[in-house]
């Protein structure tokens, strides 16, 4: 008998809770529909507000809310939204309002966009003299000439011919086989 009473009490409580939940859901959905209507009104506002004062628009729309606190909050939000839109159109921004977003964006832009260039083609080659540019040819020419002179002094025309060949060969051997053009340590 006691158990039955307890069960009945529990069932009553569960029923009450279920009823309250269903009632709340029904009430909420009705409010949501009303808010959806408000939203649709707000999205239509910009076209209408072109001819009207913004304060008047805010006052008119805030009248849809019941309490004075809600109306005040709506007006403040409307004013802030309108101001930010106006600043965006004018190219100004309130950086103090969104410091974190600004910093993040600024850092990314810095690291991604910063790029410096150095072009080797725009600089003149440093210190390349006539000798450095034509070293090989000049060495061969000097070797051939030197050999011809020495050979000519020793053996006349025939000696000059042999000397020039020897000079050419030896200077070519030096230029292309013996001398190291550059070294790494």
């Amino acid at each position: 008998m006691l158990i039955t009473k307890k069960m009945l009490l529990a069932l009553t409580l569960v029923g009450a809770l279920l009823g309250a939940g269903i009632g709340a859901l029904v009430t909420r959905s009705a409010g949501g529909d009303a808010r959806a209507e408000n939203t649709s009104n707000q999205t239509a506002l910009p076209t209408e507000s072109a001819a009207r004062d913004t304060n008047q628009v805010a006052t008119d729309n805030s009248a849809q809310f019941r309490t004075s606190a809600e109306q005040t909050a709506y007006k403040q939000g409307f004013d802030e939204g309108y101001t930010s839109c106006s600043n965006a159109q004018l190219g100004t921004s309130r950086t103090g309002t969104y410091p974190a977003t600004y910093r993040t964006y600024s850092g990314r832009r810095y690291s991604n966009s910063r790029r410096v260039y150095y072009d080797y083609g725009t600089t003149r080659p440093r210190g390349r003299s006539f000798w450095q540019k034509h070293r090989d040819k000049l060495t061969l020419a000097m070797g051939t000439g030197g050999g011809a002179i020495i050979g000519g002094l020793i053996g006349g025309k025939r000696g000059a011919g042999i000397g020039s060949l020897v000079g050419l060969g030896s200077s070519a051997l030096y230029t292309y086989k013996i001398r190291h053009r550059s070294r790494r340590y």
Binding site: V116, T123, R183
Partner: protein, 321 residues
């Protein structure tokens, strides 16, 4: 009896676990106390900054600076960031009475992989520019017979200035030091026309590697006369302009030819039309080089503590030549 055995077993188990935990904890604390001094960078002691010194660039020899070893000198040393060690010729080692470490025979090798015999040694003092302008480096050097006869040694500034940072101003031909504690390099403080990039770690040694935009690691090598030097198989067929024969520190030879200029990026710095050399005969794991032909317009600042490198061009008006 069984209960007593079980109790005894539990007691032994608890004691053994506790003793092991205590010994483990003791080992950890001992390890902390022994490792703590190793964490000191050496900068905690005041290291006097050496004065800036001038160097001269000699074709086929590199960046030469007057150097004194153990008070003897002056000798002609080549500044080579890619050497990985301070190298002394045998003649300098004898004249400066450098102590060869017994049983420390080793070998050094260059790009070609050819090796030459060497000995580890220690010096008391090392000075550049003037006989009293001492460098912080004291201790290990390598004595080798592989250097050219007209070169007395090779000065790797990373080793010679350690633990200080150093600046190689190539256009102004000046080598100077700085204290990374007072003037550290920072990634968020980029120079106007240059860049600050990570000094990449090397498995053996502290040579300055940087990351290129294509993911390759390049060695900043002031000891090389080449430009942006890549191996023959790693780059396309560049237009042949002239041929070179390059002798490395190990006595080996590699051949190089100047190819068509390329464009590379180091951090935020893009190098357009960089002189490019294609080398052949180098060993398999030879790194990509940025030699003097590529580095000549820049001032290089090396921060070994924060492992950062600044590469910045020097304005034309401030250059020596």
């Amino acid at each position: 009896m069984d209960k007593r055995c079980k109790l005894l077993f539990v007691v032994i188990l608890v004691l053994a676990t506790g003793a092991r935990a205590v010994s483990f904890g003791t080992a950890l604390s001992a390890a902390r106390t022994t490792q703590k001094p190793l964490r000191k960078t050496g900068l905690e002691q005041t290291v006097p900054l050496p004065n800036p010194v001038g160097f001269r660039e000699v074709a086929g020899r590199g960046l030469l600076v007057r150097t004194w070893v153990n008070g003897a000198g002056p000798f002609s040393f080549a500044i080579d960031t890619g050497a990985g060690a301070i190298l002394l010729s045998t003649g300098v080692a004898e004249e400066a009475r450098v102590k060869i470490r017994s049983g420390r025979a080793t070998s050094i090798a260059g790009l070609s992989g050819a090796a030459v015999g060497a000995h580890e040694a220690s010096v008391d003092t090392l000075a550049v520019g003037e006989s009293e302008n001492y460098l912080p480096a004291k201790g290990a050097v390598v004595v080798t017979s592989g250097l050219p006869r007209d070169l007395d040694g090779v000065l790797d500034p990373t080793e010679a200035f350690s633990p200080l940072g150093y600046v190689i101003d190539l256009p102004r031909q000046e080598l100077s030091a700085f204290d990374p504690r007072d003037n550290p390099l920072r990634l968020n403080q980029q120079p106007a026309e240059g860049t600050v990039v990570q000094w990449l770690k090397e498995s053996h040694g502290r040579r300055p590697f940087v990351m290129l935009d294509n993911g390759e690691r390049a060695l900043l090598d002031t000891g090389s006369s080449l430009g942006f030097a890549v191996k023959e198989n790693s780059r396309g067929d560049g237009q042949r302009i002239s041929g070179y024969e390059v002798r490395d520190v190990g006595g080996g030879r590699i051949s190089a030819r100047r190819g068509a200029p390329t464009t590379i990026s180091i951090g935020s710095l893009t190098l357009r039309r960089i002189p490019t050399d294609i080398i052949s005969g180098a060993e398999t794991d030879a790194p990509v080089l940025l030699g003097m032909s590529a580095l000549r317009p820049f001032r290089l600042r090396f921060d070994p503590v924060h492992r950062l490198i600044e590469i910045a061009p020097v304005p034309t008006g401030q250059r020596r030549n």
